[in-house]
Amino acid sequence: MSLAKRIIPCLDVDHGRVVKGVQFVDIRDAGDPVEIARRYNLEGADEITFLDITASSDDRETMVHVVEAVASEVFIPLTVGGGIREIADIRRMLNAGADKVSINTAAVFNPEFVKQAADKFGSQCIVVAVDAKRVNGEEEPDRWEIFTHGGRKPTGIDVIEWVKKMDQYGAGEILLTSMDRDGTKIGFDNDLTRAVSEAVRVPVIASGGVGELQHLADGVLQGKADAVLAASIFHFGEYSIGTAKAFMRSCGIEVRD
């Protein structure tokens, strides 16, 4: 086995600027996506994910320019999520230089969209993002449900059934976020990650809850994730990607140098 487990920093982009504060000691402008992406690339990030949190569609054009600028300088895979609702949105992002798009809400409301997207552009560039929340009571077997609107709206869809369907529909990868853990810094929901990873053929990216390096390693070792995504622990200069990789390596996980 020599395929490396991937570490993916995630950047929230609003009106063309990285928000939620990214701080590097030697970066002058901490909101510039190109500068931050360049820095993560130098540190050894395996991919970079941009989440477009701009509310209005008028400003989507700005995101296209961000992707164009980053793709001209940073030569690792780039994923763009947020507001991908139509085939035209995907084409625009890919043309700008994105390698993958991540589809979330649009997949829930119209699963056929995933099929169409995969048929049109190939599964390799279609990531299905899943926001999952635990819904079982105490003493009941583990069960998770798909939520939309940042974890506020339940859909009644069972996560395991859903990811199997998305795999069948042509998703090339699953980006799995635990809404219970997102922002808590207590670690991934590794039961969830493992259940999803074992249910599908395609790679699974664990997301939501990372607060320390051990959590990244646990996502792979306990959650059987193929990649781990984190935002804040990298942003505030707490840990570099290099430190994270060294730690994972010390846990026996294969990572890229």
């Binding site: 086995m1 020599s2 490396a4 043309n95 230089g97 395609v202 193929d226």
Partner: protein, 215 residues
């Protein structure tokens, strides 16, 4: 000024390839993205990328009327096939219930399988996605400056199988060893994506844009 033609036949994201080439050529050569057969044949070097399914690729190649152009370019000048651009150079792909490809090299593209496992029985995800080591099993000018076993970025569900052992210049292990890179004369092709493989990938592209086509 010398031109590098990137063949555009409507398959997938070619911008990354163009941008990475532009990054390594500087001002010495011009990168053109084109589906015009004449333009391709005027170029000093040709890059043949590809993404998506083999069936769609072959159909698109014929719709664009590029079949003969691609074969002629591969016979006559430094030629780089990337990902699906490597797979459709061979004879046959199992994808889409089986499809005849360009037949420039002997070999087949085979599916990793829905239950792909390593030697210890651990299940491996398909597509094979991420950074894996490329073992340089034969010397080649395009390996210049790249350490043996350097990781490149892969994303594919079908792998190249050929009985022509002379063809493979780089191999990769994912459950078993497969051809990550093949080469003969002026043609070099690889399964992974040099345009997405950070410094190692840029080095390989830089080697290509300076290559005289002699193996």
């Amino acid at each position: 000024m010398q031109e590098i033609a990137v063949i555009d036949y409507g398959m997938g994201n070619l911008r990354s390839v163009v941008k990475a080439l532009e990054h390594v050529v500087g001002n010495s050569q011009q990168v053109v993205l084109t589906s015009d057969p004449r333009r391709v044949m005027q170029a000093h070097r040709v890059v043949f990328p590809g993404q998506g399914a083999a069936g769609d690729c072959m159909r698109a190649i014929d719709e664009y009327g590029l079949r003969d152009t691609i074969l002629e370019a591969a016979r006559s000048r430094p030629f780089l096939g990337i990902c699906m651009g490597m797979q459709v150079l061979i004879e046959f792909s199992q994808e889409n219930q089986g499809i005849d490809c360009l037949g420039f090299f002997p070999g087949q593209a085979r599916y990793f399988g829905d239950d792909h496992r390593d030697k210890d029985g651990i299940r491996l995800k398909v597509p094979h996605m991420g950074w894996n080591r490329v073992r340089q099993i034969r010397q080649h000018p395009l390996w210049h400056g790249i350490e043996n076993n350097t990781r490149f970025y892969f994303v594919h569900s079908y792998y190249l199988y050929s009985e022509d052992n002379e063809l493979t210049v780089g191999s990769c292990s994912y459950g078993f060893e497969f051809s990550a890179s093949i080469a003969r004369d002026n043609v070099f092709a690889l399964q992974c994506h040099p345009e997405k493989s950070a410094d190692a990938g840029l080095q390989l592209l830089s080697n290509f844009v300076n290559w005289d086509g002699q193996a």
